[in-house]
Symmetry: C2
Subunit: 118 residues, 2 copies
DNA sequence: GCTTTATATCTACAATGTAGAGTATTTAAG
DNA sequence: CTTAAATACTCTACATTGTAGATATAAAGC
């Protein structure tokens, strides 16, 4: 077991989480929209698909091509799903970060000038 | 304002958090030890210092060289501190991840075979 | 001086992040 | 039909971040 535990990149994590959240409806474009909507992160088309492909190569996600079902034309969608391996990697990343955050308090001046800690 | 908001890498976040946690005592070797102890992550010396230097170039941390104070020999330590900019970047990263995690539940089989969600 | 201990710098390469032009596929309009 | 529009994915290329280990510094102790 365990083939030299690697770490997920920051963007990889975002994409994995987006796929999970989208569930049945997770494919390239929808992931891209979600990132734009939820975390206000605009990513290029290339950035997105490249990363999806790499995640698949690493076994973090699996994919299947859907039937051509578009309302107004359009190419067939490629749906993604996070594998068990992907979920475990995500969990590990989350736990590592949570451990490090534990006990740490920031104290920066926020936009409106009010000092907060978090 | 805002010079094309970039994102922190995964390892960069870890290092920044380690520095915050170590407070006055944050320097290369201590950060390395912390990562090993807290998140069980062994990083090479080169990986660590390279990243610290890059973070400094980006203005995420600042450094000062301490006096030679070693008990048993040794080169002077280079102490690091996370700048306001670094703290804000950290906060942004944290919030983005939290937003994405919100509403997502994993369901992978854990080591001991017990199904959990988190 | 020479060895030991503690810490940092340098050089190099691999992996991940990012962009945008180009391609494919299907529907609607002319 | 033929072309335009819509939707989604593939390809190529380069920038940034991750990672390693050898090497250099510096002081303490003998």
């Amino acid at each position: 077991m365990s083939e030299k535990e690697k770490f997920l990149g920051e963007f990889e994590q975002c994409i994995l989480l987006s796929i999970l959240r989208l569930g049945e409806n997770a494919y390239g474009s929808s992931v891209r929209e979600l990132l734009s909507d939820v975390v206000n992160r605009e990513v290029s088309i290339g950035a997105l698909y490249t990363t999806l492909e790499r995640l698949e190569t690493k076994g973090m996600v699996s994919s299947r091509v859907g039937e051509a079902t578009a309302q107004r034309g359009g190419r067939a969608k490629k749906y993604f799903e996070v594998t068990a391996k992907g979920q475990q990697a995500l969990k590990r990343s989350k736990q590592a970060l949570e451990k490090l955050w534990k006990g740490v308090a920031l104290s920066v001046v926020i936009n409106d000038g009010i000092r907060q800690s978090c």
